[in-house]
């Protein structure tokens, strides 16, 4: 283990990795609470998986951008610590599985050599920032959103205000009104817009707030039709501060931002955001985009001769998988990656090809594919031939036959029935029985193994969700069929209707019934959603209802897709949320840690960070005392209020003012050095007071 320690160059990263290593050790020695450890490792990309004793590692790749060197690095790490498979997620990350916990610090340090992080890839943090994969090359975009996605990633990584939120937080950037980054289902979704102001073109965003999928989807609300780009970061910061303070923490199922906004309403929420302005570290915060505007250069300028033997195939491929860029004579190539899985041997060859003949960059896409950018027109034949050798020229990039699926019961603890198995089967049926859909970019099919919707099944035109169904004493794998979702553009979207639950083995018949019905009844010039709306939900329910019959299931109906033994329902508990720790001693110990973080940040002149750490120390200390009395501590705002009610008003704890007035100085004062010092002193004194009180109380018992 010593070997990797000396190799990390960035001291911040080094501290992170060494801390992970130390906490793993403490956990193994039983010196650290299990739940606490889990929440720490999650915020470092280390996740549990269905198979006992090994971990899934989520590699955070902001907006899916990967260089050739990074792809080599990830491939090497996968071979060394995992099993050589790379799984592209619907949020543009790469996941590798079956990693030993002990080796995760070393794995992380390897990735950091090419500036790849695991930090805040899981857990209650700002998750990977996603963006349209065509950002920077799209003929329709007003500007490239990549620099803004990148700045957002950098600004909030390790930022004190979003390290222990009530729940995860997802942000996306769409380059055009096509909204391919699906703004309406994100906590914050941004769509690029430009506007003429005083004769100048100003960059900005339409801003969508508090959307989400999961078992209770919510459509985001528009909070700005146009927000100038320089207010992007301050706006996100304000929203995160409010979410941290008012967001539910105890009831995990109600902890996402969408529930808070649903409860208090958008106007009240924005009022709270406005109150945070004083505390923000930078208003406005201009973002420099020059690093993304460099001239596109190529390593190899010689164009080699390429013979195309399969001219028809080449044309078909150009038709379905090649996209014209806004840069003249440049093209992007889409690689349809089945289930988002590819392997290290091919990843390395792809990395070399992209380095030599393209511009050394790929983007992983939200539909679990790969997009190579900056391919010169005259090199398309070469790419066709070379990619064919890797099996990377399958037709139908982003088409109906390009089915999205989460890993489901293959590796995920939460999976209820197989998502990948049915996805492969449906892809096969489309290819063999409905070849026309290889060219159809309108209808999307998406599948999730459970209601949490990582496969985004409930916003697709046609969706399937893993379920189980009781048949007497037996359980059969099942699918819920959903229809009628989709991206409408410019921030609008539809969630699909849950139609009917059928045994999984009837999934292919459901698709056949549906596609045949469309073929027979859809009007010309009518799109899928128009057809669905014209016929109505009940029509499709009646169409599919016969498949739900379980009175005459055969043996094979009890065996899930991709399996050869009887289905067994095995569902674990989700762990992406940090779990509530109510041990009072642990809480007080954490307060000490927060105070020491505040001190360190102050020393480094990171004033906002220092102030925020002091704030969380105050809240956490109050929480410890409330917990000891069995009083509710669902939100930070609630803790502050309850502390006054139960301890200050009746003079159990004597303060010079109310606790609320003490804490909310954070909203009254600018983040100056003077205030940071004063606030830290307030937090330290409060902690001391409570510690003394607590010791007295305990000794009386």
């Amino acid at each position: 283990m010593q070997s990797f320690r000396s190799e990390i160059e960035n001291p911040v990263v080094e501290k992170d990795i060494l801390e992970l290593e130390r906490k793993i050790q403490l956990f193994k020695e039983g010196k650290i609470d299990e739940e606490r450890f889990r929440s720490l490792r999650l915020a470092r990309g280390v996740y549990g998986q269905r198979q006992f004793g090994v971990q899934m590692i989520r590699i955070k790749l902001p907006y899916g951008k990967v260089t050739s060197e990074q792809l080599h690095r990830i491939a090497n790490v996968s071979d060394e610590y995992s099993r050589g498979r790379l799984h592209i997620t619907t949020r543009q990350d790469i996941q590798i599985h079956h990693v030993s916990l002990d080796r995760t610090p070393e794995l992380w340090s390897q990735l950091e050599k090419d500036d790849i992080t695991l930090r805040e890839a899981c857990g209650n943090a700002v998750r990977n920032i996603t963006a349209s994969e065509t950002a920077g090359i799209d003929v329709n975009e007003p500007f490239d959103v990549s620099p803004y996605a990148h700045a957002t990633f950098q600004f909030f990584l390790r930022n004190a205000i979003c390290q222990e939120m009530g729940r995860k937080f997802k942000i996306s950037f769409s380059g055009t009104d096509d909204d391919t980054a699906i703004s309406f289902m994100h906590d914050l979704g941004f769509i690029a817009k430009s506007k003429e102001v005083n004769g100048q073109t100003v960059k900005g965003f339409k801003v969508m707030l508090a959307g989400g999928l999961g078992s209770q989807p919510r459509h985001a609300d528009v909070i700005y039709d146009f927000l100038e780009a320089q207010f992007l970061i301050p706006t996100i910061e304000g929203v995160l501060r409010v979410f941290d303070r008012y967001g539910e923490r105890n009831k995990r199922a109600k902890a996402r931002l969408k529930f808070l906004v649903k409860e208090i309403g958008v106007p009240k929420f924005l009022e709270l955001v406005a109150k945070e302005k004083q505390a923000l570290s930078y208003v406005p915060y201009p973002i420099d985009s020059t690093a993304f505007e460099q001239e596109i250069t190529f390593q190899e300028n010689e164009i080699p001769e390429t013979d195309i033997e399969d001219a028809e195939g080449f044309e078909a491929w150009k038709n379905t998988n090649v996209i014209k860029q806004k840069q003249e004579r440049l093209f992007a190539i889409g690689i349809k990656v089945s289930l988002g899985d590819f392997y290290t041997d091919k990843a390395r060859l792809l990395a070399d090809l992209v380095k030599k003949y393209a511009a050394n960059e790929i983007r992983l896409t939200l539909r679990q594919n790969i997009l190579i950018r900056h391919v010169r027109a005259e090199l398309l034949p070469l790419f066709y031939v070379e990619l064919s050798k890797l099996g990377f020229t399958e037709l139908g990039y982003n088409s109906t036959s390009d089915i999205t699926a989460c890993p489901g019961t293959d590796t995920c603890n939460l999976g209820i029935s197989s998502s990948t198995g049915i996805a492969l089967e449906l892809e096969r049926i489309l290819k063999e029985e409905y070849p026309a859909y290889i060219n159809n970019k309108e209808i999307a099919i998406k599948i999730s193994g459970c209601m949490n919707a990582c496969g985004q099944h409930n916003m697709a035109h046609i969706g399937f969700q893993g379920m189980s169904i009781k048949v007497g004493n037996l359980q059969a794998p099942a699918l819920q069929v959903l229809i009628g979702g989709g991206i409408l553009g410019n921030g609008k979207g539809r969630f699909s209707d849950k139609l009917v639950k059928i045994p999984s083995k009837k999934g292919p018949d459901a698709l056949r019934l549906l596609l045949n019905d469309i073929e027979n009844n859809q009007f010309e010039n009518e799109n899928f959603l128009e057809y669905y709306d014209r016929k109505g939900k009940i029509y499709f329910y009646d169409l599919l209802k016969p498949l739900s019959d379980i009175s005459s299931l055969g043996k094979s109906d009890f065996i899930d897709w991709g399996h050869d033994e009887n289905y067994v329902k095995a569902i674990g508990i989700g762990e992406c949320a940090g779990v509530v720790i109510d041990l009072i001693a642990t809480l007080l110990f954490e307060s000490e840690e927060k105070l020491s973080n505040s001190k360190e940040a102050l020393k480094a002149n990171q004033l906002s960070d220092s102030i925020y750490h002091a704030y969380t120390a105050l809240v956490n200390t109050a929480k410890a005392l409330l917990t000891s009395e069995g009083i509710k501590t669902n939100t930070q705002a609630g803790i502050i209020q309850n502390f006054d009610t139960h301890f200050v008003v009746n003079n159990t704890i004597e303060l010079s003012t109310t606790f609320a007035a003490l804490v909310y100085q954070i909203n009254e004062e600018k983040p100056t050095k003077e205030f940071a010092e004063r606030y830290l002193l307030v937090a330290t004194n409060f902690y001391k007071k409570i510690d003394v009180f607590r010791k007295k109380t305990v000794s009386h018992v």
Partner: protein, 115 residues
């Protein structure tokens, strides 16, 4: 018959927004007769007892989502089949043997909740 959520519940919350009577609550949540119904003031329940419609009621389960049987009509008057059962991913919303009611009784209950 009312529907009951068994201990196989995985707390996913899929059923909660489907209920036309707001009879489904998250585990450990207090609930009210008045929520999602037209009940107001003092009401007499069908079993004869008097209660304030917006008084807080004790949760029926602390661990799993639960259905308040007095508010459950098995979706009669709204849908063809109980919606919670239709969307439950693990098939754990099942008829409650302790609350067997006729279709007429359920229709009457539906009228009582939404007059």
């Amino acid at each position: 018959m009312a529907i009951i959520i068994t201990d196989e519940c995985i707390n996913c919350g899929a059923c909660e927004p489907e209920c036309p009577n707001t009879a489904i609550y998250e585990g450990a949540a207090d609930w009210k007769y008045s929520e999602g119904t037209s009940l107001k003031g003092n009401i007499s329940l069908l079993n004869g007892s008097e209660i304030a419609a917006d008084s807080l009621q004790e949760p029926i389960s602390d661990e799993f989502y639960f259905i308040a049987p007095d508010k459950c009509t098995e979706c009669i008057g709204f849908h063809e089949e109980p919606q919670c059962a239709a969307v439950c991913p693990v098939d754990c919303c099942v008829p409650d043997d302790e609350y067997v009611e006729t279709k007429e009784a359920l229709l009457e209950k539906q009228k009582f909740l939404h007059n």
